[in-house]
């Protein structure tokens, strides 16, 4: 067993035993999606136009919620100190964190997304929905990780976190909602979806390295 597995397992187990985000976030997603028809009245037309944005916001929130606590526990109780002194590279740890975060906050939403899209009256094929939700949730997670690592040691960490993460999330949100929207119309240009994948292709390899550097920087 190496770092990566160990970290991932630890995070997943901790969540499973205690936080239950793995259950909370899908439930949250479902409930939020349920709230919209309630709030907007059962007017299918309105619901349909609002749906892409709403689905993306729900996904955004699901990745955002666990962020604040992501590294804090490991920082406070000294786990990160131990990791600095580990013979295995620290990037294993950050990769493990990212994977666990996505498994908890991304994967369930990806799986649910076609059903949710249907419930909100969108008429999109499920492979297309997945093709949008996979990069979008991954991007939310990756960007969130960087912001979390960045704001970790800072005074007013979470204020920083909020200020950092929201601007970075906006493009993903816009392209994601845009992609969902376009797919639904007669004219399915795949532009926004490609943007998402391009963003992912760039962010995915960089994130573990960046977070590792940031974590090292935070030590004192």
């Amino acid at each position: 067993m190496n770092h990566l597995n160990a970290t991932m397992l630890k995070d997943l187990k901790t969540d499973f035993r205690h936080g239950g985000q793995f259950l909370f976030l899908p439930a949250f997603f479902l409930l939020i999606v349920m709230l919209y028809p309630l709030g907007l009245g059962a007017n299918l037309k309105v619901l349909q136009t609002a749906a892409p944005g709403l689905l993306m916001i729900a996904a955004l929130l699901a990745s955002l919620l666990p962020l604040e606590k992501l590294y804090i526990d490991d920082m406070k109780d000294g786990t990160i100190d131990l990791l600095m002194l580990s013979p295995q590279p620290l990037s294993f740890y950050s990769t493990g964190k990212i994977l666990a975060h996505w498994i908890i906050a991304g994967l369930p939403l990806v799986i649910m997304s076609p059903v949710m899209a249907m419930m909100m009256g969108l008429s999109i094929n499920w492979p297309d929905v997945l093709l949008i939700f996979i990069p979008a949730t991954l991007l939310f997670v990756l960007i969130g990780q960087i912001a979390a690592a960045l704001s970790l040691g800072a005074r007013r960490g979470s204020v920083l976190l909020a200020l950092l993460v929201i601007p970075l999330y906006i493009p993903v949100l816009i392209f994601g909602a845009g992609a969902l929207d376009l797919l639904q119309t007669e004219n399915p240009t795949k532009g926004p979806m490609l943007f998402l994948w391009a963003g992912l292709a760039f962010t995915l390899p960089v994130t573990p390295l960046v977070t590792t550097k940031l974590l090292k920087m935070q030590m004192d």
Partner: protein, 242 residues
């Protein structure tokens, strides 16, 4: 009244209630199903699908009835601290959830042919869904503590707070104009002249009573289990001690 809130006295009584409930449930459900599926006429608008009603409506009534009974138990538990009330909540919640699920599922099945959709977000349907979540919450709280008494208390609070949902379910069809049928049977104003044909009313009432007896039997079985479980918990602590 609280004489039987003592688990021991309760035990002797429960046996007889259980037997009667099982017998009544078998009789009424058997007869009710015969009436519902064979003897009653198809609806002039809905033809055969109307038979879903004989499951749907009793399930809907029971889902609310059970919640009310749990709310009463919750009140008893929080005010008079009677342990048995806590056991009752624990025993009733999963059954209530099952009946609510039955109501939702039968409603959805019925909705497809009549409204042309499985699900709409109207107030009645949504409030029943909320009821279902409340049941799940109560079950989850019951099991979320190491100390089962804590679980019961927490769950009792949730049930009490959640009971604001009941009037919303009941009156949703009147407060909001929705797809769903307004109550024709249980509405106060119409009590003198039920707007439902007696040929359909009789099987409905028979089924409803059958469901109620079934519930009675199940809840007593589960209550017995809860009481035994508690005894085991205490015995365990004692025996370890030698």
């Amino acid at each position: 009244m609280f004489g039987y809130a003592n688990p021991k006295k309760y035990k002797t009584l429960s046996h007889y209630i259980f037997l009667t409930a099982v017998i009544l449930a078998t009789l009424f459900l058997g007869f009710g199903l015969y009436l519902a599926l064979i003897a009653s006429p198809p609806d002039y608008q809905q033809s055969e699908t109307v038979r879903i009603m004989y499951v749907h409506v009793p399930a809907a009534w029971l889902s609310m009835f059970i919640y009310v009974s749990m709310a009463v138990a919750a009140l008893v538990l929080t005010i008079w601290k009677h342990t048995l009330a806590g056991f009752y909540i624990r025993a009733a919640a999963p059954i209530g959830a099952a009946f609510t699920a039955a109501c939702l599922i039968s409603g959805a099945l019925w909705g497809q042919p009549t409204w042309g959709t499985w699900w709409v977000w109207d107030a009645r349907l949504t409030s029943v869904l909320i009821l279902f979540f409340l049941y799940l919450g109560a079950i989850a709280l019951n099991n979320a503590y190491d100390n089962p008494d804590k679980g019961n208390q927490a769950s009792a609070w949730l049930v009490l707070i959640g009971s604001v949902n009941l009037p919303i379910i009941k009156f949703s069809v009147e407060w909001w104009n929705t797809l769903h049928q307004p109550a024709s049977l249980t509405s106060l104003s119409k009590i003198t002249s039920p707007g439902i044909h007696p040929d359909m009313l009789t099987p409905l009432l028979v089924m409803a009573f059958g469901f109620l007896c079934l519930y009675g039997a199940m809840v007593i079985l589960r209550l017995d289990n809860e009481i035994l479980g508690r005894k085991i918990h205490v015995l365990r602590l004692r025996t370890i001690n030698g």
